[in-house]
Amino acid sequence: MTATTTPPLVKRLTGIGWVRSNLFPNVWSSILTILLLPVLLYSGYRAGLFLLVNAEWEAVERNLTLFMQGTFPRDQQWRLVAQLPLFALALGAGLGTASSSAQDRAIEAGLPHERTSPIGIVRRFWSVIGFVLVLLYFASTANPWFVVLGSVLAFLLGFQIRGLPARFRLYGWSLMSLLLVAGFQVVSGTTGRAWLVTAIVVGIGAWTLTGSERIVPGWRTWALKTGAVIVTSVLVFLLYSVITDPGVGWDKWSGLHLTLWVSALAIILSFPFGLIMALARRSGLPALRLLATTYIELIRGVPLIALLFMGQYVALFFLPAGSSLSSISRAIAVFTLFTAAYVAEIVRGGLQSLPPGQTEAGQALGLTPPSVIRLIVLPQALRAVIPAMVGQFISLFKDTSLLSILAIFEFFNVRSLVHGQPDFRVVAHAETLVFVAVGYWAVAFAMSRESQRLEGRLRVGAA
């Protein structure tokens, strides 16, 4: 006779069971729950009442443009409208290139890999998407809707680069860099030294793309590469001599636009500087170590405000008489120097975490010290510190609020413009504060979630 088998009791906690074990597991816990629950519900009720019913969001509604782009000249607004889709396109292209090459390598190695899906992206960036929806809700015209829609479409278009065969993908990074530069210059104009920035980006692209793998590296390839760089630079220069567009320089930027750009520029510009400092601090040459350490410890020992004051009050003393730097240029320079010291410490941590056997193996193979650093040390060290770098970027983004103390009208300080208007002198302070706080929170929260996710992936992933 066969024994009757009953299916195992699957104890999934639902309803009362869940409540009992999660909210009332023991005496102390139950007391806490009983105390906290009504407080929580009441606060939620009051907050909801404030946000949705009582608050006068008019201050935000009427000044939405002020918050977003500050006192940007209204007749040049088309530039900002053009900038957003360009960046969305660049972001899509970059993300597409990165995820597809990662995917290819994983497939070849036989590793599991998850496809980046649109649903996943929405879930990860819900705070930013939510904030954008709030902005659209406050918008009084239909234009913002079109801009957002256009940007989303541009992003999806750029993302399609994923489908291209592998040999085109190298162009993906070049495309992304060019689009980023174009987005910057569509606002800041093409006069002055704008051509130099483009020339550098194009030059780097030309350098890496010329000289196919079939040609043996030798003096001929170097000559070819140098020639390509020179030719492209001259072409860029000529192009920029023809297109003269004065644009709106960053001295006139304000609002969220300025906040985002100061953060982005500071992190990009500080990176090479910080990298060199980190290598110098770890080098075997005592003079280099001393110089780097002094710089890093000095900058890290003082608050950012002190350096911003230096930039505002005394920077011009250190420059030849008659030179002038706008307050925003000086602010960007200070942020760059400040972030470079912190980036240096982060990278130094990454360098220290690398087992010394890696450099030894490279040396034993006959690689020159620069090659060892370039091919073996840096790829590993930088990959290891990506979460910390994202954290630094988040800090930088939040620290731009300090520019308000220098009377620069970044996102936070637009409030003083709003409350200078006769209608809003004494009202709506809470509303504008909440709005600005939510704006910062949405971006910072999304980035910190991404960084946590990356940290988990990097630890679990293959070597």
Binding site: V216, G357, A364, L375
Partner: protein
């Protein structure tokens, strides 16, 4: 150390297998106040397999690390294939090109695939084209019997496989001498054999090898000479038979009694 004995053995080596490819004369190495190598005199002939044994702290790793200048010797001469190791960058680079090293902890580059690990040095140092380098790499990977792992990452391989990739990586530079620093000490027992088999094949193929190891089976199988080091100096040198059946010095006998 018995000078005549070294001379005799060196003379044997010279006679037996051709002239010396590595010479160490009066080499001293200090770490601060601690002397790690004391008056090392040794020569290794072409196609000779020398196994270096000794207790930990005896300086055997330091010795072979001095040969490719991962450590700098303070006194004495080290000459590899006619190139003298000095503060001359070009000499150091040349010596490193002619020597290949296999480490105890493999030291594969985790961010590169196995194939990229092996082709890195030929492409960067010998300026080989990518296709040629990959062909050479596949040949070496076949030689160590794991060509199918070429596209995998080191983290996906077992210890024995990783060490064989490390050997292939060193071989891809077509070195004249292979240096092994306790290549099997970090491996699980069941994987030691596959690595030793590769090393034996290498030796039988005529590669000049200096191997620091505890694996006596390997020494007995292919070594031309066994060198015993203790406290930074060479205590005894001899053929494997002489060594294991009839050691002369007390320190040698003590050590052998502990490991055999």
């Amino acid at each position: 150390m018995n000078d005549e004995s070294t001379q005799q053995v060196y003379a044997d080596a010279t006679k037996a297998k051709g002239d010396a490819i590595i010479e160490l004369e009066g080499v001293d190495k200090f770490f601060g106040d601690f002397q790690a190598l004391k008056d090392i005199n040794m020569a290794v002939g072409r196609q000779e397999v020398v196994v270096v044994i000794g207790p930990s702290g005896s300086g055997k790793s330091t010795l072979i690390r001095c040969i490719n200048h991962l450590e700098t010797h303070e006194r004495g001469r080290i000459v590899v294939d006619g190139i003298e190791l000095s503060e001359d960058i070009r000499n150091i680079q040349e010596v490193r090109r002619e020597t290949g090293m296999v480490f105890q902890s493999f030291n594969l580059f985790p961010h590169l695939t196995v194939l990229d690990n092996v082709t890195l040095a030929p492409r960067q140092v010998r300026n080989m084209a990518k296709a040629d380098a990959e062909e050479l790499a596949m040949k070496q990977l076949t030689r160590v019997k794991i060509p199918e792992q070429a596209r995998k990452y080191p983290g996906q391989l077992s210890g024995g496989q990783q060490q064989r990739v490390a050997i292939a990586r060193a071989l891809a530079m077509q070195p004249k001498v292979m240096l092994f620093d306790e290549p099997t000490s970090a491996l699980d027992p069941e994987m030691i054999k596959e690595v030793l088999d590769v090393m034996v094949e290498l030796a039988e193929g005529g590669m000049t090898m200096i191997v620091v190891t505890h694996e006596m089976s390997f020494a007995r199988a292919v070594a031309n000479r066994v060198v015993f080091m203790a406290d930074g100096e060479i205590v005894e040198v001899g053929t494997p038979e002489h060594f294991f059946t009839n050691p002369e010095e007390d320190r040698t006998k003590l050590f052998l009694s502990q490991i055999l």
